[in-house]
């Protein structure tokens, strides 16, 4: 299960930030999760609940997920298009010389502390 591993990394990073800022309890962690990041938000929040409640610092802490839509760029006609709808092929010119601009994020955006 992929998401549980990710949760352990989030916990490690949040712990570090909490320590650096002398925070006693974190009430919310906000994540930016890209649409094509391979993370399934529901699994991530399930794993989070299980693992976070074992840590005094994170007991009851909610995990908020902000989805980032995946957008690709076409290097031949310089247009942007939705990766999930069109995949590798540019819908405007048919080129496959395209790459992902965003949508791959697994990022901790911010934390709220009380």
């Amino acid at each position: 299960m992929h998401e549980l591993g990710i949760v352990f990394y989030i916990i490690r990073d949040v712990k570090k930030v909490a320590e650096e800022n002398s925070v006693g309890h974190v009430s919310k962690v906000v994540m930016s999760i890209g649409e094509v990041s391979t993370i399934i938000p529901d699994y991530l929040t399930d794993c989070w609940r299980w693992a976070a409640d074992k840590e005094p610092l994170l007991k009851g802490c909610t995990l908020e997920i902000q989805q980032v839509p995946a957008v690709s760029y076409c290097g031949d006609c310089n247009s942007e298009f939705g990766t999930v709808d069109f995949g590798k092929k540019c819908p405007l010119c048919g080129s496959e010389n395209t790459w992902l601009l965003r949508g791959n994020e697994v990022e901790i955006k911010e934390i709220a502390c009380d």
């Binding site: 299960m1 591993g5 990394y9 911010e110 009380d114």
Partner: protein, 224 residues
């Protein structure tokens, strides 16, 4: 005093690991040990392929193997018995992949003075190991015929991080609709520079090409 304080972080969950992996790569370069990270789905033939390949190269370079498994040591024992080379077992403690820190901890149990090449058999999985840089010089993966030639389309990240794709179990090609040409095309969509080597680990067919690839890699890396 019930004020909520918000701390902005804006940091990728993979950032620390990427840095750590680069550091490990440098440390390994200094000790002259080439680390190869081998990935695949469960059961595609990693252990069988390693045994056949190691027996072809073990007289030319000093090899050690690290077997990563969620919770058993059958593979490490098999390698040791079939090849006689040092082989250690890493337990991932339920994790679906190895990261650079776990790899470093595993390497601490390997006699690096007596090794030119360490091969890491990663956890069988096409998603998670691709996201975590282990600090290896190269990533290689095994795709077995029964899995189908469309895997590069379904697991793009895995195929884009691998420099070598070994297509195993070619002995069963007659029973599956696996299309080798399509497979090549799809792999190259993900990584135009990827090498593709078809083998049958069971009989050893094609394994000499894989052995040659590894020996060349290690030689070129050492001379650089």
């Amino acid at each position: 005093m019930d004020e909520v304080k918000v701390i902005e972080i804006k940091k990728s969950v993979f950032a620390d690991n990427d840095k750590d992996a680069d550091l490990l790569r440098k440390e390994l370069k200094d000790s002259g040990v080439y680390l190869l990270n081998l990935m695949s789905s469960p059961g595609s033939g990693k252990t069988t392929t390693l045994i056949k390949t190691i027996n072809l190269i073990k007289d030319k370079i000093r090899v050690a193997v690290m077997e990563a498994d969620i919770d058993s040591d059958v593979d490490a024992v098999k390698i040791k018995e079939a090849t006689g080379i040092p082989s250690i077992q890493l337990h991932t403690g339920g994790m679906c992949h190895l990261d650079a820190e776990m790899t470093r901890q595993g390497l601490a149990n390997v006699d690096l003075k007596d090794a030119d090449l360490v091969i890491l058999e990663n956890v069988g999985n096409l998603v998670c190991p691709a996201e975590f840089d282990t600090g290896a010089v190269r990533n290689a993966m095994i795709l077995s015929v029964p899995e189908g030639h469309d895997k590069p389309l379904k697991y793009p990240l895995m195929f884009s991080v691998c420099d070598l794709v070994v297509v195993n179990k070619i002995d069963v090609l007659p029973y599956f609709d696996f299309d080798m040409e399509k497979c090549r095309e799809y792999v190259h969509m993900r990584n135009p520079k990827a090498q593709i080597i078809p083998i049958c680990a069971k009989t050893g067919e094609g394994v000499e090409k894989l052995a040659e690839w590894i020996l060349n890699e290690v030689k070129n890396w050492k001379n650089n």
